[in-house]
């Protein structure tokens, strides 16, 4: 929204009205005129008054308020409730309230005239306070007083030009006319450099206020319709679509406080991220949220809890039966509840109330329980848009968010929540009740967890007096998760099987042992036999060799005797 050359940058006159200066990229065009157009009760006069009051209080610019409709006392009284002490400003010589009473019924035109006396009065007022800002409120009354529009147009133009030469920034308010011309006489819009439309609409018995800049010569501006509200601080605009996706990210883990859940989420969710907990009725969503909040508060993280269905008292009472005490955090000022049925306010108002609380309380965690309660009065698209804006705003503040939502029937619907807001969520946990063998048990699984590898298994969990307890996953032979008494049964079977295995093993070992021994005995016997054979053979060889050597000797002896002629028998 920056102009190309700074030389030609239009000077802006900040209004000081919450959120508006952002929409108008700095404020209204300085030294020029802005037309505020709207139906009765849309907040035009208040806009003008705030423009002057903030000008005096925050920017040291005195101002003049010229009303063609109300008397000075009434103007002062009207804004006293939003904390603007106009009478003090008047007394201090910073503000001048001029009320011009126009009696239309007794005014006749006969000939040429001009509005010089009006100029004189306004000029005197401007000089008296050395005004830099001026508001002309409800000029339609001025226009309707006179029949001759040509004169009026000329004079009005003259007035605005004169104000411009004085260097004042002017705000002109008028009632909205028919669609084509914005104003009843269709005059003013062509004379103003900037035109802002205020609208008060009532849909389904709920009133919503919208603001739109339809023209802004020489400046960029948000061209959308922006919701705003009027609370006890005045006009509050919500330039929610201004937020880009560029917000600071954190690497710190925001622990859930439920053991093993962080693990399932791949370590846990990060600070400033959004977590959705969905599930059917009675599946334990509020309990999960409660424990989440409890652990956050215990760490000293301020939490803002928006309760849309149950009263805070009820929520806390239900959690107390599980030994989760949230009251202590409320007492310590770490936890704050905002409890409103959404039908009380329009959706935008609801969000505005919440954002105001966020500004005042500065929480680290915001819980909305349940967001399904917001669907009752509005279309899904509206809800999604609103949530998106709110999430953007909260993320830019680094606030972590937890939402609970009701999903109807666990199996059939699958993973779609009513307004498909899942795309806005960084992490999503589904609570499911699982039925098998006539029993229901609670299961929990992670549908998504951005930025982390997460477990995709369904884990059974119990809601005990110590909070939520996640059990380890157990699968049966078919690969299905078993829970409840099935699980118990399976555990028993497994134990039995283990025991059986052990017994069998033992037996087999003994058998082996005995076989070993038998074998050893046999081997020993064979060895002995072999030894015996060996020995006998060896003896035999010995004997034979002895015999043969004896024989040899005998033969040798005989042969010797023979050779020597000695004979034995002569």
């Amino acid at each position: 929204m920056n102009m190309a050359s700074s030389k030609y940058l239009l000077q802006k006159c900040p209004t000081g009205i919450t959120g508006f200066d952002r929409i108008a990229d700095g404020g209204l065009p300085a030294g020029r005129s802005t037309l505020i157009c709207g139906s009765a009760g849309s907040g035009k006069s208040l806009f003008g008054i705030e423009f002057l009051a903030h000008g005096i209080e925050s920017f040291q610019e005195p101002g003049v308020f010229v009303s063609f409709e109300e008397r000075a006392e009434d103007i002062i009284a009207n804004v006293a409730s939003i904390g603007l002490a106009l009478d003090e400003m008047v007394a201090a010589g910073q503000l001048k309230l001029l009320s011009i009473d126009i009696e239309t019924h007794s005014l006749h035109e006969a000939g040429e005239y001009d509005l010089e006396p009006l100029f004189i009065r306004i000029s005197a007022a401007i000089k008296a306070v050395r005004a830099r800002r001026i508001v002309l409120d409800a000029v339609e009354n001025l226009f309707s007083a006179f029949e001759d529009q040509a004169i009026l147009r000329a004079e009005f133009k003259r007035l605005l030009s004169w104000i411009k030469t004085q260097g004042l920034t002017a705000v002109i308010t008028t009632e909205k006319g028919d669609e084509q011309h914005l104003t009843r006489r269709g005059v003013e819009e062509y004379l103003a450099d900037c035109v802002v439309l205020l609208d008060l609409r009532v849909t389904d018995q709920v009133a919503t206020r919208m603001l739109r800049i339809t023209k802004y010569r020489g400046s960029g501006h948000g061209a959308d319709e922006y919701p705003f509200l009027i609370d006890d601080t005045g006009i509050v605009c919500m330039p929610i679509n201004q937020y880009s996706l560029d917000y600071p990210v954190s690497n710190r883990i925001f622990s859930s406080g439920i053991s093993k859940l962080d693990q399932m989420l791949g370590g846990g969710i990060y600070y400033g991220s959004t977590l959705l907990v969905s599930g059917g009725s009675g599946s334990g969503k509020s309990t999960v949220a409660g424990q989440f909040v409890d652990s956050a508060c215990a760490r000293g993280e301020k939490t803002l809890y928006l309760a849309l269905e149950e009263s805070p008292g009820q929520i806390m009472r239900n959690l107390r039966s599980l030994n989760i005490d949230l009251q202590q955090w409320v007492d310590r000022g770490v936890l704050s509840f905002v409890a409103n049925r959404p039908s009380v306010y329009g959706l935008e108002m609801q969000m505005a109330v919440l954002m105001r609380q966020v500004r005042l309380f500065e929480p680290a965690l915001v819980v909305i329980d349940p967001i399904t309660a917001l669907h009752i009065d509005s279309s899904s698209l509206t809800v999604k848009r609103m949530l998106q804006r709110m999430i953007d705003q909260l993320k830019s503040r680094g606030i972590t968010m937890l939402f609970t939502t009701l999903t109807w029937s666990s199996e059939e619907i699958g993973e779609t929540t009513p307004s498909s807001i899942s795309s806005l969520m960084d992490a999503w946990i589904q609570l499911r009740s699982m039925e098998s063998s006539g029993e229901r048990s609670r299961g929990l699984y992670v549908i998504k967890s951005r930025g982390a590898r997460n477990s995709n298994q369904i884990r059974e969990f119990l809601i005990t007096s110590g909070g939520i307890f996640l059990k380890d996953v157990m699968l049966n032979g078919a690969g299905d998760v078993v829970t409840g008494s099935q699980r118990y049964l399976m555990q028993v079977r497994q134990a039995q099987a283990h025991k059986d295995r052990q017994a069998t093993e033992e037996q087999q070992r003994l058998e082996l042992e005995s076989r070993h021994q038998t074998m050893q005995a046999r081997v020993a016997a064979l060895m002995a036999e072999f030894e015996a054979e060996k020995q006998s053979l060896e003896r035999k060889w010995q004997l034979e060799s002895l015999q043969s050597s004896e024989n040899e000797m005998l033969i040798h002896q005989v042969s010797e005797r023979r050779s020597t002629g000695v004979s034995d028998g002569d």
């Binding site: 011009i100 126009i102 009696e103 005014l107 006749h108 006969a110 000939g111 005239y113 010089e116 006396p117």
Partner: protein
Amino acid sequence: MVTEHENEQDDTLVPCCWKLRLYVIGQSPRSILAIRNLREICEKHLDARYEIEVIDLLVDPQLAEGDEIIAVPTLVRHLPVPVRKVVGDLSDTDKVLVGLQLQFRE
């Protein structure tokens, strides 16, 4: 300025004394024209006694607040009541008469 005082009667149908105040700014042609026109109209069409007061806002600007004057010239009929205002240089006689209720539109 022509000034005449008469006893006021309670008869609203036949007004006895008229009090007219003409606001102008300075001696502009329009101002002078208005004054002249007013005198003529009063002479020609007013049977009763009348009193014309000319107020120059250049001299006394604060007097504009009393009668809530925002245009000039403005003729204010203070008497007879109710107060009626006619703006312009009064060159359109018919309109002036209607404005002063001396003549009624049919």
